[in-house]
Amino acid sequence: MQLSRPARIALRAAAGLGFAFIYVPLALVLVNSFNRDRSASWPPSGLTLHWWSVARENEGARAALWVSVKAGLGATAIALVLGTLIAFAVARHRFFGRDTVSFVVVLPIALPGIVTGIALNSAFSTVLEPLGVGLGMFTVIVGHATFCIVVVFNNVVARLRRTSGTYEEAAMDLGADTFRVFVDVTFPLVRSALLAGGLLAFALSFDEIVVTTFTAGPGIQTLPIWIFDNMTRPRQAPVVNVVAAVLVLLSVIPIYAAQRLSADTATSSRI
């Protein structure tokens, strides 16, 4: 589109403001991790590395991080399998209720976390407890996977829609069987979509707090829950700021790596 110079400048400026809006609070988190005070204030009364060294020794945060990673990986794995299955069904088949399926997939993320949380909580406690299974890591993963399915589904189904079935048909004509086609043709086609979907699923699970609150059992403390518990402890708030700053800095790596890996940036990420 041929944009006039003023229009371009205006758009650039607006985009700049947008990015400023996104990054000023993040920068503040970073600055705050060096703030001398226990409860943050603006402007900081002084800068210190003290909280960084305190945070380094904080086992609780490290343990919670590990729990979050495990929960995230578990939920992402389930979401990848289920999301991909639904995507293939919806994109490659016509059947009664197809629209409903893609509608139901969206529900877990669209409905309030608090509703999903209490629904799963009461279901788990009525169904699992008589079996002697309490709330724990397993229930957290199940809860997270439920709302992560949609991001995998969206990414994969979008890719499948854009690549019609002709490649697969060609492979079949050449004698490959269904599985062979999947391994050699279909999977490479959707690989980057899986990566983008998986990454987003992991991010969703990693930062989830509401559903986790209602599905975690004793001793299961994910990083957001740890942050929530420690945010309300005045002695710990600065450590939380450090943890948050570290998360922001670290997050660039997986996202950037994923962007590099997926050659096709057009569908880089769909939520």
């Binding site: 000023v24 609070p25 204030s41 299955l85 669209a110 509703v115 269904t178 939520i271």
Partner: protein, 296 residues
């Protein structure tokens, strides 16, 4: 040696593959069984049980759920003025957040998808996604700090003779907009990036100015994506109760009211919970007509 391919041809795997190929219904049911069990039985089943419990009551002292059928909770929901207020306020907040997100997201997405140099675009997408990894709570507390008295907002606005909004409804809208903004930028970015350049050229060749091309070509093709993003911004805002607790002053949204009832009166919480569910389902159905759900 020569018989090898033949035996392979009759191998169970190969036979299964053949069966699957010949019977698409079987293939479909294999694809759908596990996910549907998960979503329909586990998820929708739990929801259904919860909403049935909205018709029960509780012992007012022990908070035990008493399984006696009654529509009292819904009656209360419809007749208590404070619930009506809270519901209207929540929907208003969700709409305001969605609108703000769309307004902020469009120029950002347009820049990252069409104006920025192509080799820079992946980096910009990373820049949009990064905030999603910073903890939700930390971001909200950052906003608490920004909007506090003599905080960053007051400090920055002072030279202009203005002051920040302080804690309250406005603060909640701003913080929620911030939280869900990436969910709006990404779909718009994707849509704009996929916009065929020759379509725009054609529009220009036919004499349309940028403004006209925008209205007649860009906007109609991007709208489904805006609708897709709005599904997130709208529904995530409608269900939120933590942000408003932190920056909302004394504001209550529907999530807070549900939350305050969970432990003491689960049936009432369930009844209150039906409100955002109904609103969101209606919203989703409306958005589906725009094709939003397939461009999520």
């Amino acid at each position: 040696m020569t018989s090898l391919p033949q035996t392979a041809g009759r191998s169970p795997v190969r036979r299964l593959a053949g069966t699957l190929h010949r019977r698409p219904r079987l293939r479909l049911s294999l694809l759908l069984t596990a996910p549907l069990l998960w979503l329909a039985v586990l998820y929708l089943g739990s929801l259904a049980v919860l909403f049935v419990s909205a018709f029960w009551t509780t012992n007012s002292f022990t908070s035990e759920v008493v399984k006696v059928w009654s529509a009292d909770n819904f009656h209360q929901l419809l007749t208590t003025p404070v619930y009506r207020q809270v519901i209207l306020r929540s929907v208003g907040v969700a709409l305001a957040v969605t609108l703000l997100c769309a307004v902020i997201a469009f120029p950002v997405a347009f820049y990252t998808a069409r104006i920025a140099k192509p080799e820079r675009r992946p980096l910009l997408v990373v820049a949009i996604l990064t905030p999603l990894w910073a903890s939700y709570l930390v971001k909200v507390y950052a906003w608490r700090l920004i909007l506090s008295q003599d905080g960053l907002a007051d400090w920055a606005l002072k030279p202009l003779g203005l002051s920040g909004p302080g804690y309250g409804l406005t603060a909640a809208v701003i913080a929620l907009t911030y939280l869900w903004l990436p969910y709006m930028i990404l779909p718009i970015h994707t849509a704009l990036e996929q916009l065929p350049a020759n379509l725009l050229d054609a529009s220009a060749d036919l004499g349309a100015r940028a403004g006209r091309t925008f209205r007649s070509v860009v906007l109609p093709m991007v709208l489904p994506s805006v609708a897709a993003g709005s599904v997130f911004t709208f529904s995530l805002s409608l269900g939120d109760y933590i942000t408003v607790q932190i920056v909302g002053g004394k504001t209550q949204l529907i999530g807070n009211v549900v939350y305050s009832n969970i432990e003491l009166n689960l049936p009432m919480a369930a009844a209150l919970g039906t409100v955002p569910v109904v609103v969101i389902v209606v919203y989703l159905l409306a958005m589906r007509r725009t094709g939003a759900l397939s461009s999520l």
